[in-house]
């Protein structure tokens, strides 16, 4: 059986990649993907712990996270399309109307 620490390290790597991508990328779609990556990194640690401790709640949590992520993806993609239609760009640095 694969030890728990492997999963956790992989989860941390995924999450860190997500954070790095979120910070570095300019394209909204890439940022969106990075967010998904972070969510799934967390999901991984949830299921890893659930398997380790034979606890059911961790798995249930993951379902919730997935549901929320799916809803978020639907709303987020709709916003991205709306932004692209009006601004003709996906560069977040250009989408700065609310900035002072």
């Amino acid at each position: 059986m694969v030890p728990l620490s492997y999963y956790l390290v992989l989860s941390a790597i995924l999450f860190t990649c997500g954070v790095a991508g979120f910070l570095i990328k300019r394209n909204i779609i890439s940022i969106f993907l990075s967010i998904e990556l972070m969510l799934n990194g967390v999901n991984l640690s949830f299921v890893a712990f659930a398997a380790q401790w034979k606890a059911f709640s961790g798995q249930v949590f993951v379902f919730f996270v997935m549901v929320v992520a799916a809803a978020e993806a639907a709303v987020g993609l709709a916003i991205i399309i709306a932004v692209f239609r009006t601004r003709e760009t996906l560069n977040v640095d250009r989408v700065n109307l609310l900035k002072l």
Binding site: V19, F22, L23, I24, V92, D93, N96, K99, L100
Partner: protein
Amino acid sequence: MTPNLHLWLIPVLPLIGAAVNGLFGRRFTRQTVAAIALGFSGAAFAMASWVAVRFPSLTTPYQESLAQWIRAGNFRADFAFYLDQLSLVMLLVVTGVGFLIHIYSVGYMAEEGGFYRFFSYLNLFMFFMLTLVLANNYLLMFIGWEGVGLASYLLIGFWFTRDSAASAGKKAFIVNRIGDFGFLIALFLLIKHFGSLNFAQVFPTIASMSPETQGVGLLTSIALLLTLGACGKSAQIPLYVWLPDAMEGPTPVSALIHAATMVTAGVYMIARSHVIFDRAPGALTAVAIIGTLTALFAATIGIAQTDIKKVLAYSTISQLGYMFLGCGVAAYSAGIFHLMTHAFFKGLLFLAAGSVIHAVGGEQDMRKMGGLRTKIPWTFWTMTAATLAIAGIPPFAGFFSKDEVLWQAYSSPHGSWIYWLVGVITAFITSFYMFRLWFLTFFGEYRGANAEENGQAEHARHGHGGIHESPRVMVVPLVILAVLSVIGGWVGYHNNFENFLAPVFRTGVAVSAEAAQAVGSTQPHPEAGSTESLLMGISIAAALAGFLLAWLLYHRRPELPKRIALALNGLYVAVLNKYYVDELYAILFVKPLIDGSSRLLWRGIDQHVIDATVDNGAEGARRVSDTVRHMQSGNIRSYAGWVAAGAAAIIVYMVWIGVR
């Protein structure tokens, strides 16, 4: 059961007048304003007269409580009024003279701006003055005391666009603060040691105490502090300096507030507190010395003044000194008697002076007057009556009261021949400077540079040219006051006035052994009659001598005064400059205070400590935030970076905790 007199109406009536005129007067015509002011002050006078008529049937002192005011523990001070012979005299003087001066002001102020404001202030003054004399406790009296100060300030600075008037108002107010400070401390002492400020409670307690013949005990301290308060209000040495400057106000104000009523509040207060003073001989002596010195000192300054109102101002200070002398030798009724006659003749002098000033178109310098006798006969004759009264020529009012003061100064157990001598010398000087004023103003040739030119601006506004008699509305009060100045002293004949006031001043006195002796000594000794006649003769002679000297110097040989002034060069200049007292005070008190305020408090503490603390605090905050604000870039990803960094930091911290 005692009848209800509704005494509270007497002060409240002028207050209503003040409120109506003050709030709505701007929209009223001058006639309406005058009618309201006269109506309410006249009503107060009518009410006071009615009270006077009812007075013999009352049990005195009559007390009346209007409303609760302060109740804390056992201490209580209410809106309550106290009427005895003393307050009745004051009541009649204040409302009577006040009403006459109101009438006069209608004529005097007819051409002035701020007509409604003037009458509103004047009525307000009446309210506070009546509160002062009717109060049944020291605290309510203090309200009136401060209130008349306020009214005085407002009226001195009535022409507030003139810088000198504004600063004269401030000076009066600030100098009075010094006296009020003493008064207030005295009240605190009374509360602390007697637990009350009500006359009816404090005085019986004190009356059972024995006199403090030596050292400064509680009663002496209280009395001295009260004296300080009285010195401020009644313009005595060392706090007299505000009164001459107060002449910046309109002349009716000088007559009402700075001659007849307000400045006598100090004398009234001392007389009211006679129970305390009787048991503090040290304080009595202080009062007598202050009074004597002030009388002489101010009279000498009066000799050299050329402004007609300034002469009268110094004369007022001097006469107030007589009243203090009367009180200081425990002859309170003599002091109050002089207060009353002084209200008549000094009020009249000021009003007549106002009439003269009005006639010559605003000129106040006596050197530019002269020969007005035939041109303004009413003013001349009324002023003559007042001058004779103040000079102490029998049978005018001033003779009786001044003579009573002088006789008491000589014969009272607290008196001394020195007081009497200085008093007589002062009487001589008084007579001299008053007749000097009289001759300079009414006799000789008219010396105005050019009558028409001098008063042209004024006259253009008046709508008539040349020197002219005042309108009837001004002359009538003059005549009434002149009659009072002639006959006002006759109430003192055969000690009638003294006997009238006796119940007030004897109640407390009879208890103490020393005072019982004092009462005994007021009964005429076999030879006292002849001594009294002799002293009376001397004071009449002094008055006549003053008249003759003035006649010689200012009528017969008008060139002499200049030669005398040259001969007495240094002295004359000193007197002309009022002995440099103002300058002395400026060096001793005002300048150090201003320097201390500006250098130490303003530049030192305020700018370098308080401002610096605030400024440096703000500067520090600005610098810190200048550094930190770069975090707030508005760039979402940098925020996210900070979030990530923060999360990482927390993880590191927790790991570190776990490892440890």
